[in-house]
Amino acid sequence: MFFRQAGVYHTNYVADRALFPVAADRWIIAMILALGVAAPFMFSSLYLSSYLLPWLVWTAGALGLNLILGWAGQFHLGYAAIMGIGAYATVHANRFGVPWEFSIVIGGVSAAVIGSCFAFAALRVKGLYLALSTLALQFVMDWTISHVPAISGGTQATLQAPDIRVLGQPIVSDAGLYYVALVWCVLVTLFMLNLRRTALGRALVAVREKDFAAAVIGVNSFYFKLVAFSTSSFIGGVSGAILIGTFYHAVTPEQFSVDVSIQVLAMVIVGGLGSIIGSYFGAAFILLMPGVMNSFISWGAARFGVSLSIEALAHLPQALYGALIISFLLVEPLGLGKIYKNVRDYLLVWPFGYVKK
């Protein structure tokens, strides 16, 4: 119905290689993009700065992790550490007097350099051992950040981030910060959308499916693992920097602890491995869930007259979060992106449900 394929004829190469051959996809994306641009005029600044903005930044981060996890098939349990490196490098460069535009590039590059060290682990080991070594590197990074005063900024371990200045123009309004996040998220999404059409993307998929086989057909799997690690670390580093600049305004080690790594991983898994729209859904799900869960629990407690202690109230959402991750893995291992795809596939041929899709 909506996603009608009738009339989609590829008569030239440009049309054949279009990102979205079905017209409905293009319309939906144009509408969402317009909505995104118009959001500051439509939503209150509370919604804008506490829901939409972190959602966009975390989506960019989740897409970066998806590049390494979903496309290249390499584990990364230390993605928050990468984001933290980017954030700290950016803040330090910025305080040193480097303009903001360049300091996020410095943050991204330093994250990419350190993240590429993970690739040398990936050269030697894979699977479980890679996951464990990235976990260990996360712990080392945590320790280094919080125990070296030159990085974390002294006893309080909180480092105030300077205001974002784009082209010398300080950005302080909520709408301005939102647009910074929006631009970065759109850039990352465009990159990821086009990645699957490039030789790089196909090589990454070959490495993911089987790196020996990839080597046999002439894909240098080590080189592409290195590229995947450094690219995703660059995206992660810049996302971390933008998260600090637009949302937290100050950087502390706890913002990039191992729990955050698991959270980003949960975004990717819940959204769906290798799914771009899934990363959007997954980030929204993981970010919104604690709030929804809290109000749900207090509603349930009031409804059924159960009085919960403060401690139970504090830990119950966390427990339900764990239970949700498990139930997602059991019920829909391919994530929310797959659910969207199922709906789209259904509508593609509706009302002829028996058509082979």
Binding site: V125, L128, S133, V140, A314, Q318, A323, P333
Partner: protein, 295 residues
């Protein structure tokens, strides 16, 4: 150089290390039978300790009975975890399974804090606090007891793997499909290994809680357990015992020298460094099989 101090740190370190290997043993038991790296072993340890406390304080059972009852409960919980969560994930990519155990970790940790609260509580199992003097060396009685239990547990498992059921488990760990084709119920074997790991977790939880009290920090034993398991080889019980000894000694001695230099908390750094070095130099650990990598 103070040799007495060095020897004391070394001996106490090795005793602590043997207690780490109790945590590692659970990870190894599960990995051996099903190639699932259990990242929830730390919270299972914590859950076991909490259940013991619940039996002894809520229902007023004497501590030894509480431990027995908790062991039985954890046996059931281990079987339930396999039945509900892991069985349906068989054959999925390993990232899904890792994520499942991470989700389980969050669920068990936060769940037990929800039920029993986060305030630290003592675990009185009747080990006196008086130090044990071995010549001029001071030794912590709780650590010594823990190390002894670790060695006894290892002995029990070594005997168990010679019984009929143990041979079945060894067959499963050797080759899933072949075990299946000769009529071994692989699911039951894997469930049994989860149950045994839960029992080991309870024992580790009780012993560690008698040292440091029952609270959230028991779940952080995971990093030590994983390090010991990897160092010993993910599928070798004896390796876990020896690696625990090694890690404990290195951690104790390096920790006592590095702490003044680095401003405390250097033990975790030593652990992480050990883990990375092991994976870089010898991914299959000291005694692990070479072919355990899942391709």
């Amino acid at each position: 150089m103070d040799w007495a101090l060095l020897a004391e740190t070394g001996i106490n370190g090795s005793l602590i290390g043997l207690m780490y290997s109790l945590v590692a043993m659970g990870i190894v038991l599960i990995y051996k039978s099903s190639s699932v790296p259990n990242l929830a072993q730390g919270s299972m340890t914590m859950l076991g300790a909490y259940i013991v406390l619940a039996y002894s304080s809520r229902f007023g059972a004497p501590i030894w009975l509480a431990i027995v009852l908790a062991t039985l409960s954890m046996f059931g919980i281990g079987i339930a975890i396999e039945r509900i969560a892991l069985r349906r994930l068989a054959g999925r990519p390993i990232i899904m399974i890792l994520m499942m155990t991470l989700g389980l970790e969050i669920l068990l940790r936060a769940g037990s804090l929800t039920i029993w609260g986060a305030t630290g509580r003592p675990m009185p199992i009747g080990i006196s606090d008086d130090p044990l003097f071995l010549g001029a060396l001071l030794i912590n009685r709780a650590y010594a007891a823990g190390a002894a239990v670790a060695i006894v547990m290892f002995g029990l498992f070594a005997l168990f793997f010679r019984t009929r059921m143990g041979v079945v488990l060894r067959a499963i760990s050797d080759d899933y499909t072949a075990a299946w084709s000769v009529g071994i119920s692989v699911e039951r074997g894997v469930a049994l290994s989860w149950a045994m790991a839960s029992v080991v977790a309870t024992v580790a939880g009780v012993l560690w809680a008698s040292v440091q009290g029952v609270d959230q920090s028991l779940a952080h034993l995971l990093l030590k357990g994983v390090t010991v398991a990897v160092l010993g080889g993910m599928d070798s019980l004896g390796g876990a015992l020896l690696a625990g000894l090694l890690l404990g000694i290195v951690e104790g001695i390096a920790g006592s020298y590095l702490d003044p230099l680095l401003g405390g908390a250097s033990r975790d750094l030593v652990d992480a460094a050990m883990l990375i070095v092991t994976i870089m130099l010898r991914p299959h650990g000291l005694f692990g099989r070479h072919d355990i990598e899942r391709i």
